[in-house]
């Protein structure tokens, strides 16, 4: 089962390496990873998406807590969350197909952020499913390259980690 784990860490050098290497050496897989600052400049937030059963997740959480610079770990499995991913998709777009592509993008509330004679870059945010769906539709035009961020998530409501 897929789990979203949010980790608050001290904003110090190598802390990401510690978290990533913990996963590697304990044999856990990371499906997606996103890191960035929070409202407190001393604290960063790492969002991990990992697969595993309850006991694996329990071990991951406990092992994360053992890292000295990890302040808080939260598994969002039982929590309603807003989770988002962002993708940039550079798609092959000759002038005769451009309208059609723009229309598709609009349905997904995606934005065209770069235009060239031969191509477009489309920016889309949303759940992974939504991005997958757009990617699927754009395939037939020829995706030149694309990049996706790791997923980020916040629990719904006024509580915080």
């Amino acid at each position: 089962m897929e789990h979203i784990i949010a980790v608050l860490v001290e904003n110090k050098p190598r802390v990401l390496a510690r978290v990533a290497s913990l996963f590697a050496r304990r044999g856990y897989n990371i499906e997606s990873l996103a890191v960035g600052p929070t409202q407190d400049p001393n604290i960063s937030r790492i969002t991990l998406v990992v697969a595993g059963n309850e006991s694996v997740l329990e071990q991951i959480t406990k092992q994360l807590y053992k890292l000295i610079e990890v302040i808080k770990v939260s598994d969002f499995s039982d929590t309603p969350v807003v989770d988002r991913e962002l993708a940039l998709i550079k798609v092959h777009a000759p002038s005769n197909l451009r309208g059609e592509i723009a229309q598709t993008a609009e349905i997904f509330r995606a934005r065209i952020v770069d235009v060239d004679e031969e191509s477009l870059i489309i920016e889309v945010t949303g759940t992974p499913d939504k991005i997958d769906a757009l990617e699927q539709l754009l395939r037939k035009y020829g995706i030149i390259e694309m990049t996706r961020t790791g997923r980020i998530a916040l629990a719904r409501g006024s509580k915080s980690l």
Binding site: V9, R14, S21, Q59, Q63, Y65, I68, E69
Partner: protein, 556 residues
């Protein structure tokens, strides 16, 4: 007061109560060594290889309960520490390792003697620091000692670039340190403690399974109180040796792969297993599915990650062993289990280890004789890793904590000699006995120089069977006797010892053994090495083959 970073470091070490440092100088620690030159309060022990410094700091920590400190230079100095740090990490031993690093502006440029020390040691330290701002130094040193010694102890490494050592900074001693992500739990959850006490009160066949955590937390006295008050037999791990007196009738000895017949039988039969500061290691449990099949399990450990890692306990308690056991003892009424003890006595009658008669020296016999000749002394027993380690664990009983040092988790051959140096430095009035093998001793033989240099009267007994004995045993049992590369062709080890300036004795005949031990005990001004030529193909028994259940012991 302003002074060089290296001097600030040394002042802080004094503040932390550091009396001894084990180390080896080099280019990137010149400033630290220069500061130590003016510091008679801190004794520096010069080893001959940095791995020896780490093991010596480890042996010092295990036998004194203080934090061990070692120093190495950058690059190769630091990488040589790695095995020692990994050894300490696996056995939760508090060490602070100080390493030199190239100037900060040279980091990452493949500079001379540069290695990514914090990167390399990340998975084998409790925590590590690369100090990039000299002003951070006082805080980092304070945190390093705090982290090493508290919670689940472990090695902490501080990497110190040369410019950090050289910069003039203010000497401050941070009274308070703030580590927001580090808050070890010491006090057990009251509800869980109550449940545990009830379970103990109700159990018909309870068994205490104690590990190194009991020694780390200084819980031996409360453990004794609990065991005797509730009449609970005790089995210990290799790391837990000395946590409970082995001469006590409630002690069933060591459990696991080479545990006693009755200890393993008791695990398989008990209805309540109380694990204290132990981590259900594969060498202890054998096949996990069949481990303690009839038992409810109480697991007491200070590290929440150990609970449920290998075995799911019925009553988990996160906390310090001493505090939790103390709470439990208060809640139970005295009780006895005569039927349970009858069962155990029956196992003891059913099987007593029989050793074959031989004209050759037999390993069990050698250890028994060493024990007989030294049991009246205040001793510390250190071992290397292999067959001799198991024979020592089986045949040299320990009564008190911190009188036994052996590499348990990592199983580091070569640990013994430098660790016994650390033990002797930390305990100058005790008799330090090292039981080693002809494989292990040569892994760190250069430290015999150190022992000679500092006139350390360590009694070294080498169980010399001209084999890498434990590997040979496995080849014999599991690889149809195909002894691939385990035959060792050794020099005359007693001669080697003499060449180093130690006292060397060679024993080949049974009748010479006692005299050799007596002679060794008389030497007080230097190490003694007794090379015991034991029968070559003796096996360690009982033996639970890997992956088998604890009741599938090979007994002969």
């Amino acid at each position: 007061m302003r002074m060089k970073g290296a001097q600030v470091l040394v002042e802080l070490l004094k503040k932390e109560g550091v009396e001894v440092i084990f180390g080896y100088p080099g280019g990137a620690v010149l400033d630290i060594y220069d500061a130590l030159f003016d510091t008679p309060e801190i004794r520096h022990i010069l080893v001959r290889h940095e791995q020896g410094a780490a093991h010596a700091a480890d042996g010092y920590a295990r036998t004194t309960g203080k934090v061990g400190v070692c120093i190495a230079t950058s690059g190769p100095g630091a990488t040589n520490l790695v095995t020692g740090l990994a050894t300490a990490y696996m056995d939760s031993i508090p060490i602070v390792a100080l390493t030199g690093q190239v100037f900060t502006h040279l980091i990452g440029k493949d500079s001379f003697q540069e290695a990514d020390t914090t990167g390399i040691t990340m998975p084998i330290t409790k925590h590590n620091f690369l100090v990039t701002k000299a002003e951070d130094l006082p805080y980092v040193i304070r945190e390093a000692f705090y982290l090493a010694a508290t919670g689940r102890p472990g090695p902490v490494l501080v990497d110190l670039p040369r410019d950090v050592q050289q910069k003039m900074i203010e000497l401050v001693y941070p009274e308070k340190i703030k580590i927001p992500g580090y808050r070890p739990t010491y006090k057990g959850h009251a509800k869980q403690v109550k449940l545990a006490a009830e379970a103990i009160q109700e159990a018909k066949r309870p068994l205490l399974y104690v590990g190194g955590g009991v020694i780390a937390s200084g819980a031996s006295d409360v453990l004794f109180e609990l065991a005797t008050k509730a009449d609970i037999p005790v089995v210990h791990t290799l790391m837990g040796k000395g946590a409970f007196p082995e001469s006590h009738p409630l002690s069933l000895g060591m459990l696991g792969m080479h545990g006693t017949y009755w200890a393993n039988k008791a695990v398989m039969r008990c209805d309540l297993l109380i694990a204290v500061g132990a981590r259900f290691d594969d060498r202890v449990t054998g096949k996990l599915d069949t481990f303690a099949p009839h038992a409810r399990i109480i697991h007491i450990d200070i590290d929440p990650a150990e609970i449920g890692k290998n075995v799911k306990p019925h009553i988990p308690i996160v906390g310090d062993a001493r505090m939790v056991l103390g709470e439990i003892v208060k809640r139970i009424e005295p009780i006895t289990h005569p039927e349970w003890h009858e069962e155990i006595s029956a196992w003891k009658k059913e099987y007593t280890p029989k050793y074959r008669e031989s004209d050759r020296l037999l390993p069990h016999h050698v250890i028994e004789r060493i024990y007989e000749k030294t049991k009246h002394l205040d001793t510390i027993v250190v071992t290397d890793v292999g067959q001799h380690q198991m024979w020592a664990a089986q045949k040299y009983p320990r009564e008190k904590p911190r009188t036994w040092a052996s590499s348990g988790g990592l199983g580091t051959m070569g640990y013994g000699l430098p660790a016994s140096i650390g033990a002797q430095i930390g305990n100058p009035d005790k008799t330090v006995i090292l039981i080693s093998g002809d494989g292990s001793i040569f892994m760190k033989i250069q430290e015999l120089v150190t022992a000679v240099n500092y006139c350390l009267p360590i009694k070294i007994f080498v169980m010399n069977n001209s084999y890498l004995g434990m590997v040979r045993q496995w080849q014999g049992c599991l690889y149809r006797g195909r002894y691939s590369c385990t035959r060792l062709v050794n020099p005359d080890i007693a001669q080697v010892a003499r060449a180093f300036g130690a006292f060397g004795i060679s024993v080949t005949e049974k009748e010479d053994l006692d005299r050799a031990i007596e002679e060794a005990l008389k030497v007080t001004d230097r190490p003694v090495l007794v090379d015991c030529h034991i029968a070559e193909e003796e096996n360690v028994l009982p033996f639970v083959p890997p992956g088998k259940s604890l009741d599938e012991m090979i007994l002969e």
